[in-house]
C-alpha cells in the first residue's frame, strides 16, 4: 500500500509550469489527472495489441478481447456487483440517457420523477425530456440557502410524491455535498420507485459498494476517476437492466438479423452496439488496478485533511462566502468573493498557475436556487497536497489585491 503523499509523483501532468508558475490543478471535478500506468496501458494497447474485440479469432483480437472483458470483471469486483450488470457507455451522460430512454414505457401520465435541486444538467434534462414524452411530472427536492438538502426532507418528499423514478446524485459536482443515498434508496424502494444514482463525482472519492447501496442503476464516467476520456459505465441490477429495451442498435448486440426481423442478445451486450472504446476500457482497467493498490481509508483521511486545510484558509479571507455542506463533502468547494464576477477571479487565478473552474458548473437550477450567476469551484483529489492549497490561497490573496488595489 502506498503512502498517499507520494502518489502525486505518478501524475506527470501536474509537474509543469503555467504562465511561469507551477501548475496548481484544482479542477479534478471537471476531469481527473491520469497516473502514468493508465497512459502506459493505452500506449501499450495501440503499439502492441491494437485490434478490435469480439470480432476476430486471431491472436491480437483474442488477447484484447480477454483483457477487455477482464476489465469488466475487475470493475465488477471493485463495485461489488456482477460483470453482466455493467454496460460500457461513452460517459455518465450517455448512461443516464440510456436509462431515461429505456424507462419510457414504464411511465404513465401524471407519474412522478423525483430529483434534487443539486443535480448536474446530465441528471436533469434527460428526465425532463422523459417527462415531456410521457406526461409524467418532474418534481424537485429543494436546497436551503446554503445549498444543503437534509436527509429527512428527502425522505418526506419521497413519501409525499410517491415517485416512479428517483434520480439523485451521490455527490454534488458544484458543492461537493455527499448525499445519504443509501437511506434514500431504501425509502424509495419501499414505495416501489426505480432508483438511479449519479456517481460521476462520488466514485473516485467514496468507492461505493453498489450491492450495499442497493440502487437499481448507478452511473459514472471513467475520465473523472483516473481513466481515459470517452468511457462511461452503467450499472444496473441484472433484471432491471435486461428489462430495458435496446437503445442504440448495430453490430455485435444482435443475435440474428434478417431484413424482416432482428433478435437481440442479453444485457450487457444488447446495449453495446458497434466497436467500443477499447483503449479507454483497458486504460480504465489500469486505473482500477491503481486504485485497488491505494488503501481507501488512508486516501479518504488524506483527502479530508486537505479539504479541512483548504476550508480553514479560504474562510479566513474576508469577503469569501462558501456554499454547500462543509462536513459531508468529497473535497469540492464553491465560493464567491464579495460581488466579484467569477470570470475575473478565475482568469486572474490562472495567471498564477491556478486551475479552478468558474461559472454555473452545469447546474444552472442550483445557481438559481442560490441566487448566484456562478461560483469559483475548487475540487481536490488525493494527488493534491498542502503546497497546492498554500499556492492557491496566496494567489487568491494576490488576485484580490489586484482587483481592489
Amino acid at each position: 500500500m502506498s503512502d498517499i503523499a507520494q502518489l502525486r509523483n505518478d501524475f506527470v501532468t501536474l509537474n509543469q509550469s503555467i504562465e511561469g508558475n507551477p501548475l496548481v490543478y484544482l479542477d479534478s471535478g471537471a476531469t481527473s489527472q491520469k497516473p502514468q500506468v493508465v497512459i502506459n496501458e493505452i500506449n501499450h494497447f495501440y503499439s502492441k495489441n491494437n485490434a478490435n474485440v469480439h470480432r476476430g479469432l486471431h491472436t491480437l483480437s483474442e488477447r484484447v478481447t480477454s483483457q477487455y472483458e477482464g476489465v469488466r470483471e475487475k470493475l465488477a469486483q471493485f463495485l461489488g456487483v456482477f460483470a453482466t450488470e455493467l454496460v460500457w457507455t461513452s460517459g455518465a451522460t450517455h448512461s443516464i440517457n440510456l436509462v431515461a430512454s429505456g424507462l419510457t414505457n414504464q411511465l404513465r401520465y401524471d407519474d412522478v420523477i423525483l430529483i434534487t435541486a443539486l443535480e448536474h444538467h446530465a441528471n436533469i434534462v434527460p428526465w425532463q425530456q422523459l417527462a415531456q414524452r410521457t406526461g409524467a411530472k418532474l418534481k424537485v427536492i429543494p436546497v436551503n440557502d446554503q445549498g444543503i438538502i437534509c436527509t429527512n426532507n428527502v425522505l418526506a418528499q419521497i413519501q409525499k410524491w410517491q415517485p416512479k423514478i428517483f434520480a439523485c446524485t451521490h455527490a454534488s459536482n458544484t458543492l461537493g455535498n455527499i448525499l445519504d443515498v443509501q437511506v434514500f434508496i431504501a425509502q424509495a424502494k419501499k414505495i416501489g420507485a426505480t432508483t438511479i444514482i449519479d456517481g460521476a463525482q462520488a466514485f473516485l472519492h467514496l468507492r461505493p459498494n453498489l450491492r450495499q447501496l442497493d440502487c437499481d442503476f448507478y452511473v459514472l464516467s471513467a475520465h473523472k476517476a483516473l481513466g481515459p476520456t470517452g468511457l462511461g459505465i452503467l450499472f444496473g441490477k441484472y433484471e432491471q437492466l435486461n428489462a430495458l429495451p435496446v437503445y442504440q442498435t448495430g453490430g455485435e448486440m444482435i443475435e440474428t438479423v434478417t431484413f424482416d426481423q432482428t433478435t437481440f442478445r442479453q444485457a450487457p451486450a444488447k446495449f453495446e452496439p458497434g466497436t467500443p472504446n477499447i483503449s479507454a476500457v483497458l486504460g480504465f482497467g489500469a486505473a482500477i488496478d491503481y486504485l485497488s493498490n491505494i488503501n481507501f481509508s488512508a486516501m479518504h483521511k488524506y483527502e479530508q485533511s486537505l479539504f479541512k486545510y483548504l476550508l480553514e484558509h479560504l474562510s479566513a479571507i474576508k469577503g469569501v462566502k462558501l456554499y454547500g455542506d462543509l462536513d459531508n463533502n468529497i473535497g469540492t468547494i464553491s465560493f464567491t468573493f464579495k460581488s466579484e464576477h467569477h470570470y475575473d477571479l478565475a482568469m486572474l487565478l490562472n495567471s498564477y498557475g491556478v486551475a479552478v473552474r468558474s461559472g454555473h458548473h452545469c447546474t444552472q437550477p442550483l445557481m438559481q436556487a442560490l441566487n448566484l450567476n456562478g461560483t469559483i469551484r475548487v475540487s481536490l483529489a488525493f494527488y493534491n497536497n498542502h503546497t497546492d492549497i498554500d499556492r492557491f490561497i496566496s494567489a487568491l490573496n494576490n488576485c484580490i489585491q489586484l482587483i481592489e488595489g
Binding site: V53, H54, L57, S61, E62, T65, S66, E69
Partner: protein, 135 residues
C-alpha cells in the same frame, strides 16, 4: 481413443500446426451425429461454429454418456477431447474433473477463452452443470 492416449499425442507435438493436425484427426474419429439429433435444444451457442451436445445418464451403470458434433474440424476435435474426459464417468467423478486444468496441461487453454467464440467453454460448463445435478 482414451483421454490418456489423447494426452500423450497432444503433449508430444512440437508446433501449433501439429497440434491442430492431431485435434482435427480426433475430430474425424468422432462419429457424425445424425441430423435428427442436431436439435435446437442440443445446440450449444457459440459465435462462429455450430455445436451439438447430448448428455445422458446410463441408469444401469450410473455413468455418463456423451455424444456431440460440430460443423468445424477444430471445434469437433476439441469436443472429442472433452467427451473423452467425461464419457463413462460417474456424475461424482465428472463433477471433480477440472477441464480447465486438463486443457492447460494439453497446451490448449487458449481455446477455452470465451473470446474464441468456439463454445468449448460453454460445453464444459453445460456438462458440469448436468453432472452436478445428478450427484
Amino acid at each position: 481413443m482414451t483421454y490418456q492416449e489423447i494426452h500423450d499425442k497432444l503433449t508430444s507435438t512440437s508446433s501449433w500446426q501439429q497440434s491442430y493436425r492431431e485435434i482435427m484427426l480426433l475430430g474425424k474419429q468422432l462419429p457424425n451425429l445424425p441430423n435428427a439429433l442436431k436439435t435446437e435444444q442440443a445446440q450449444v451457442k457459440g459465435c462462429e461454429s455450430n455445436v451439438w451436445l447430448h448428455v445422458e445418464l446410463d441408469e444401469s451403470q450410473q455413468h455418463m454418456l456423451l455424444v456431440g458434433d460440430s460443423d468445424t474440424r477444430i471445434v469437433k476435435g476439441l469436443l472429442a477431447i472433452v467427451l473423452s474426459l467425461y464419457n463413462s464417468k460417474t456424475p461424482t467423478q465428472a463433477a471433480k474433473i477440472d477441464a480447465y486444468q486438463e486443457f492447460e496441461s494439453l497446451g490448449l487453454i487458449k481455446h477455452l477463452s470465451p473470446s474464441r467464440g468456439n463454445g468449448i467453454k460453454a460445453i464444459v460448463d453445460r456438462i458440469q452443470t448436468i453432472a452436478l445435478q445428478w450427484v
